[in-house]
Amino acid sequence: MRYLPHSETDRATMLARIGAATIDDLFADIPEDARAPVYAGLPDAKSEFAVERELATYADRNVAAGAAPFFVGAGAYRHHVPATVDHIIQRSEFMTAYTPYQPEIAQGTLQVLFEFQTQVARLTGMEVANASMYDGSTAAAEAVLMAHRITRRGKAIVSGGVHPQYRDVIDTVSRASGHPVDNLPPDPGGTEDIAAAIDGDTSCVVVQMPSFYGHLRDLGPIATRAHEAGALLVAVFTEAVAFGAITPPGAMGADIVAGEGQSIGNPLTFGGPYVGLLAARAKHVRQMPGRLAGETVDADGRRGFVLTLSTREQHIRRDRATSNICTNSGLCALAFSVHMTLLGDAGLKRLAALNHANAVRLAETLAAVPGVTVLNETFFNEFTIRVPGDAAEIVERLAEAGVLGGVPVSRLQGRGKGLDDLIVVAATELTSAEDDQAFAAALAEVTS
């Protein structure tokens, strides 16, 4: 087996040194009844080329996003990832390192995390950020629990504009920890009055910006109302590129910002691994979950970085930790950071402008299709359309016609909730005018 270094002679020599007659002597503590199980359907070792061939048969049954006009978003976005990013994250010293528990020989990872935290804080307009979370949805749920710890209250009000699966995750985690959630009805029109729902028990209001349906709104008035009631504003996002164009939540009074960083540096990969971003006001840092890199000096007075404030974490605090989270999303955070470094402010602004311009063009093209309405007044690179018919069926037929035409809202919200004719569609810098035309033509065809 090509990954196992020992020769049979090595094994025999080592067993002799240990003083064991056979390898099974070392497994003698396994109860006799459970030894030597019989397995079904697990073939023996294969050559590298045989494995490659077998895995390709799975990959070949999928339609890659790059192979068709592509408009699917709703929480994951197809952006270009510069070749440099994928090269750097495959450097052995990044990819095959562990969590930097020995900082003297992990300064590479630690400095990257410190830079990442700064990039995320500045992108979202906040003061601090952690070293990343699993993904946007888990970051959002952790943000809610964090708000509960800060306010010592337990009720979250979740906007109907939050991604339905993010709402489900917040719901599951809250229910499990005994906290009530006030889920406002789905808000495809972007008209809800969330401030009206705030009361004296409210720990936080959770608002997505841009919303799941694409709408933009000034979070300032919601923040003001929340703060008056002693509650926090948790701003959620799924499209990090948006903050190259729009005012970040931090500049509109958000206390905690949680979202998905996949858009910057990370491929779609069917939903993961992604990178959750979590940023907050500096005064709340001790209630933050997850790892944090911090600056310090070494014994010779040179600047260096370490994981810090670990007394919040499970390996020290055990059942009194801020969260059970152990891992972060290190390599995806690195990808985010490298891409962000390549972009810089200037590149990010240009990338965001390109996304918005392409989405505006797409909206105009689709609005011209008979029977199709664009619901949004405002949007960044994603918006909602109403179609004449069942959205899920239409999206399926679009796929048959070779167009991946967005996400039917009913797929996430369930059917029969008055949302069955809505599709969320996205454009990015990779969307061409020809793609738009192909989408419009196919949509006209399948809805006529």
């Binding site: 087996m1 990954y3 270094p5 020992h6 094994r11 240990i18 003083g19 064991a20 390898i23 070392l26 396994i30 079904a40 697990l42 294969k46 590298e48 990959a59 192979a67 709703a74 090269h87 450097r91 095959t96 562990y98 930097p100 020995q102 992990a106 400095q111 990257v112 410190f114 700064t118 990039q119 500045r122 699993y134 946007g136 499990a176 903050f243 500049a251 990969t269 069917f270 993961g272 691994p273 310090t296 070494d298 810090t308 404030l309 499970q314 059942d319 059970n324 152990c326 972060n328 290190g330 470094t341 390549l342 810089g344 402010d345 200037a346 590149g347 392409n358 960044f380 991946l404 996430l412």
Partner: protein
């Protein structure tokens, strides 16, 4: 050529000496690297993008007023920045990474290559299912293999890391108890458990009751029975445990737990020791997460991403979270909402958006296919062989908390052999850095004084282990000779000497702020 003890070369004592300080602070190939905030510029970008077409903006007057303040670097500057940083990291590809409990095994590059096939890397989680049949089939097949290897009934694939898997398994247990009309408030956790176990149980509102280990380092079924009653929801047990020992009474423990109406959650962090040798399902386990980044070699990446599928017993299977793959008439389909769930399924909710860590699934699948059942069994055997070899080579010089007995994939030492020497476990670990090794896990498990937990994994050759144990022996002998400074001042040869963690925590600096002088000059 190789000299004694497997050392490649030795410097000539006459000619070697302290390297002189340099003007740059660099030391040969060790190059100092500033922060991007110190070398980047706001108007530089390493990405060329076309001019955005002119459109009437629909941003509702919410245009960003001030740039974020993240400077850019050109592509060559970017490469250099990250390559220099990477050179300050130790990695498995550089040498043995014997972190106990962490399982730093080789990361095959075939896994990376296949995960990057466009049919995996460039598919969207919400494309129509008809366009991702291969992706769904792969999740189904990986899940089937995991249930087969563990002897369990079902698997939840979506948890994004080990601790996320713990949450999943414990939520399934909670849901099963609730469905039976029971509310139970206590979770039993051995004192040697990973910190995530009590943290997970506490997250779900459970009270933790600790189970102490008996003198041989394993859990006594009698101690479990004493603590069992109708308020106990579950026991969370790691097997092999964090002392590297197989819980030989695991079946008796499982029986007692089940008799009390509670469930057996197994922390699968150490499953890599027994793949192909024993199945958790045969040991009475009801739920167990599997760290794909440990057992199935998906890269640790400097701290993630992980992946933590959870295998479930027949009793817990109906409560698996959304989404899950349901195979009907041989065709796998993703069930994403409650409306869509087949009869008999009562998902406890959803733990994450989308379907889990697909990129890790492909890598784990490549590992399984490459090894095959025979290779996976051999890997477990070699991992256990290597740990016992290290034990046998060090047992005369380093102390073991539970006596010199056969271990599984990792061997645990304590600091009794350092007693009164003036050298701590931390000092000892840092001295290993100067010798060119990543230290073992230190101070874990917490119940063992000055713990040092060594997990070599199956990826190490005999030659690699021989040099490692020879170095440890040399260090242990130096402790005996009273060479205290060598340890207290270590590391001297790494990119940084010992870092001041107290200072970092006292006044945390978590983001970059330009120094005052720099800012006033810019104004």
């Amino acid at each position: 050529m190789k000299g004694d003890l497997g050392r490649p070369t030795q410097p000539d004592a006459e000619r070697s000496g302290e390297a002189p300080p340099t003007f740059t602070g660099n030391r040969g190939l060790q190059i100092e690297e500033p922060l991007i905030y110190e070398i980047g510029r706001g108007d530089v970008s390493g990405v060329d993008l076309p001019d955005p077409p002119k459109v009437a903006a629909r941003l509702g007057g919410l245009e960003r007023a001030d740039p974020p303040g993240n400077p850019g670097l050109s592509e060559p500057e970017t490469m250099r920045h990250y390559v220099r940083l990477s050179q300050k990291n130790y990695a498995i590809d550089s040498g043995i990474f014997p972190l106990g409990s962490c399982t730093m095994k080789h990361n095959p590059r075939l896994n990376e290559k296949t995960a990057r096939l466009p049919g995996f890397a460039d598919i969207h989680p919400l494309q129509p299912q008809s366009t991702v049949e291969g992706g769904i089939a792969l999740i189904a097949e990986l899940g089937r293999r995991l249930t087969e290897l563990t002897g369990m009934a079902a698997v939840a694939m979506s948890p994004r890391a080990g601790a996320h898997g713990e949450l999943c398994g414990m939520l399934a247990i909670k849901a099963a108890l609730e469905a039976a009309g029971e509310t139970r408030s206590v979770v039993l956790v051995p004192d040697s458990a990973h910190g995530t176990n009590p943290a997970t149980a506490a997250t779900l509102g459970y009270d933790i009751v600790e189970v102490p280990a008996r003198p041989d380092g394993t859990v006594d079924p009698a101690a479990v029975r004493e603590r069992l009653n109708d308020t106990v929801a579950a026991i969370m047990l790691t097997n092999p445990n964090t002392a590297g020992l197989f819980e030989r009474d695991v079946i008796a423990i499982a029986e007692a737990v089940h008799a009390a109406g509670a469930y057996f959650y197994a922390d699968g962090a150490n499953f890599n020791a027994i793949v192909g040798k024993a199945r958790p399902g045969d040991l009475g386990v009801d739920a167990m997460h599997i760290n794909l980044h440990k057992t199935f070699s998906t890269p640790h990446g400097g701290g993630g991403p992980g992946s933590g599928p959870v295998v479930l017993s027949e009793a817990l299977a109906p409560f698996a979270p959304l989404p899950f793959v349901h195979v009907a008439a041989g065709v796998p389909r993703l069930v994403e909402t409650d409306d869509d769930a087949p009869a008999g399924a009562h998902p406890f909710g959803r733990l994450t958006a989308f379907h889990g860590q697909m990129g890790m699934f492909v890598r784990a699948m490549a590992y399984m296919l490459s090894h095959g059942l025979d290779g996976m069994r051999q890997a477990s055997e070699d991992a256990v062989l290597n740990a016992n070899y290290v034990r046998a080579c060090l047992s005369d010089l380093m102390s073991q908390p539970y006596g010199d007995r056969t271990c599984m994939h990792e061997v645990l030492f304590d600091d009794a052999f350092l007693k009164d020497s003036g050298v701590t476990t931390l000092d000892f670990a840092k001295a290993l850095i100067d010798e060119g090794f990543h230290p073992m896990t230190v101070y874990f498990p917490l119940v063992v004084h000055g713990a040092m937990l060594i997990e070599p994994t199956e990826s190490e050759s005999k030659a690699s282990l021989d040099l490692f144990v020879a170095s440890l022996r040399d260090l242990a002998l130096r402790v005996g000779r009273g060479e205290v400074d060598r340890f207290r001042q270590a590391p001297r040869l790494a990119p940084r000497s010992r870092l001041d963690e107290t200072r970092a925590a006292r006044k945390p600096v978590l983001t970059y702020t330009a120094p005052e002088s720099y800012r006033s000059a810019a104004e």
